[in-house]
């Protein structure tokens, strides 16, 4: 187990390194921060001093090595766009907002998708099943920014139940979380449904019924426990996809999380922050995958003893 963990962490670190190179190269290929951050009529002196100050005149590999050396010590440099802000610190400051949104989105996905998928499986072929399928397909075929804007208009403007955008109260996070979650609901519900169907067909489910176990118990205890393994596999992808979704949705709902930082930083060619935010994204993804792997062991005794 320990060996496994060590190997996982080592390979994650390798992946992070490659990611940092990719991002570094891409963001430096064109468009200098000079042009994003200085005004139209900036003079050559202004430009030169800016370039000197941020080491942009050095060769690319040197800039990268400098970056890497510092990054290994946790120092990603200072933001160009948000003067005086430590790049990683700035990203980490925004991380709770994204995690809060992502967490709520995952919660919503699970709370809606599991019962939906289970109901669809249990009542396969019934109207509930069809409804669940349509609901799921809707989520998978609506661009999330569009869904987000529709949600704003329906629930904030016409019904007046929830605030349109911004942060502050819990109510602020509901709409963006739904907008991110819906796509996941689809995927998760479909997965749950198919794996539930498989499990419900199993002999041990028949045996449970034969034992006189009530249908509720059969589904939620006997079937779900086994069916849950498959949706759990999906959690790694779920995490990635929720993070990706946050990039767009945070813009729509003006939610100041990492997605917002990422877009602003890339547009502003704020290299230190771009590096920091993408590394942060990757770390979250990898951690969540690690957690999923550990959760497996809890859910599925076969792995524990296998």
């Amino acid at each position: 187990m320990l060996l496994y963990l060590t190997r996982r962490i080592a390979s994650s670190l390798f992946a992070l390194l490659v990611i940092s190179v990719i991002v570094f190269l891409l963001s430096h290929l064109s468009g200098s921060p000079v042009d994003a951050l200085l005004p139209d009529d900036a003079t050559q002196e202004q430009v030169d001093s800016f370039i000197r100050e941020w080491g942009l005149d050095k060769p690319l590999w040197q800039q990268y090595l400098t970056f890497l050396g510092n990054a290994l010590q946790g120092d990603f440099g200072t933001s160009l766009k948000w003067p005086g802000e430590d790049a990683m610190g700035f990203v980490l400051d925004r991380m709770p907002a994204t995690l809060k949104l992502g967490g709520l989105a995952i919660l919503i996905s699970v709370v809606i998708a599991l019962p939906l998928g289970i109901a669809a499986a249990v009542y396969k072929g019934s109207p509930i099943d069809s409804l669940a399928q349509v609901f799921a397909l809707l989520g998978q075929s609506m661009p999330n920014f569009w869904l987000g804007i529709i949600l704003i208009w329906v629930f904030s403007v016409w019904l007046g139940w929830l605030p349109t955008s911004g942060t502050g109260t819990f109510a602020h996070s509901i709409l963006p979380a739904i907008a991110i979650a819906w796509f996941q609901v689809s995927a998760l519900a479909r997965l749950t449904r198919s794996s539930m169907l498989e499990v419900l067909d199993a002999e041990y489910i028949k045996l449970a019924r034969v034992k006189g176990v009530s249908e509720t118990q059969v589904i939620w205890k006997h079937a779900l426990r086994n069916a849950a393994v498959v949706p759990l596999t999906y959690f790694g992808i779920l995490a990635a996809s929720i993070l990706t979704g946050s990039v767009v949705i945070e813009t729509v709902f003006s939610w100041p999380g990492m997605g917002w930082v990422a877009i602003e930083a890339i547009r502003g060619r704020d290299f230190p922050v771009v590096q920091a935010v993408i590394i942060a994204y990757a770390v979250i993804y990898m951690l969540s995958n690690l957690v999923v792997d550990l959760l497996y062991v809890v859910v599925d005794p076969r792995i524990r003893h296998g």
Partner: protein
């Protein structure tokens, strides 16, 4: 209704008869997606690019508009229907080429990784990790900033976003297959690795790849839409559906038809592709899980 207990007194022939072609998704795909993609220039009632400033913001036909512009017009007076029809080709091209890139790269790497194992397998799996850990949207932004947004960049991003799924799935299948009897037999018979891979293993993972590809159509179209939203999609004036929805999003509350109908086109296409994928999965590969 396909479910029945294995002991039920039902002859197997009966069931294979009952499962016919999924006509609804195939029909929808044809009507909304395939036919427009290839025949838009003959069936579209108007030019999708030329503004008609005299006919701006016409509502759709049953909402106060006329049959002249059945789905209404946009802010430059262009016919929404014609734009959707013409956009289909680009959507088709992006999703097909993007998926093709994903399939070719992902399947090849997955095949070789699963077959060869060892360091190459490790490398490929790390690459899969990397690609999954890098949000496609951020990569797209960085890429667009670097090489500019173009048809090519969108295809690259879609391909990049998808290949890992194929690689992972194919590898998993190959791991199972390489231990099977027929591979062993071929090895004993002295077949080369390349031959074993492409003649014996590849045909066996084709089903998986086909099913996965159908299901990725939706993801590809969604991605295209998100890229348009961020202003890094296929450049204007190409009326890709993503751009149409994205451009019309400001007017959801007022001139709703501008984004609604392209959105509907996306919805129907993705829905049908998914239904088709589900159907294919049931037919071809019962083991395949939905992702």
């Amino acid at each position: 209704m396909a479910e029945t207990s294995p002991n039920a007194p039902i002859a197997p022939t009966f069931w294979s008869k009952a499962s016919d072609l999924p006509l609804i998704p195939i029909g929808l795909l044809l009507i909304v997606f395939i036919i427009p993609a290839f025949f838009a220039q003959w069936i579209a009632p108007h030019d999708p690019y030329v503004p008609n400033l005299g006919a701006r913001l016409q509502p759709p036909v049953f909402f106060g508009g006329t049959w002249e512009y059945a789905l209404g017009t946009d802010r430059l007076g262009r016919d929404i229907l014609s734009r959707i029809l013409h956009g289909a080709w680009y959507v088709l091209a992006v999703s097909m080429i993007g998926i093709a890139v994903g399939v070719v790269v992902g399947t090849t790497l997955g095949l070789v990784a699963g077959y060869a194992r060892g360091w190459f397998d490790g490398l490929v799996m790390r690459l899969v990790d990397i690609s999954l850990a890098l949000p496609a949207m951020l990569l797209a932004l960085a890429l667009a900033a670097a090489i500019g947004a173009s048809f090519l960049s969108v295809v690259v991003v879609v391909g990049f976003a998808l290949w890992a799924y194929f690689a992972r799935q194919v590898r998993a299948e190959v791991l199972l297959l390489r231990n099977s009897d027929f591979v062993a037999r071929s090895q004993v018979a002295g077949a080369s690795h390349v031959r074993i891979l492409f003649r014996h293993i590849l045909p066996n993972v084709t089903n998986t790849v086909v099913v996965l590809a159908t299901l990725q159509v939706g993801i590809a179209i969604m991605l295209d839409a998100s890229l348009s939203f961020l202003g890094i999609g296929i450049p204007r004036p190409t009326p890709t559906w993503g751009l149409l929805v994205s451009d019309g999003r400001d007017f959801i509350a007022t001139d709703w038809w501008i984004s609604f109908f392209p959105g509907l086109a996306i919805l129907l296409t993705v829905m049908s592709a998914n239904m088709l994928g589900d159907w294919l999965r049931e037919r071809l590969d019962p083991r395949q899980r939905q992702i």
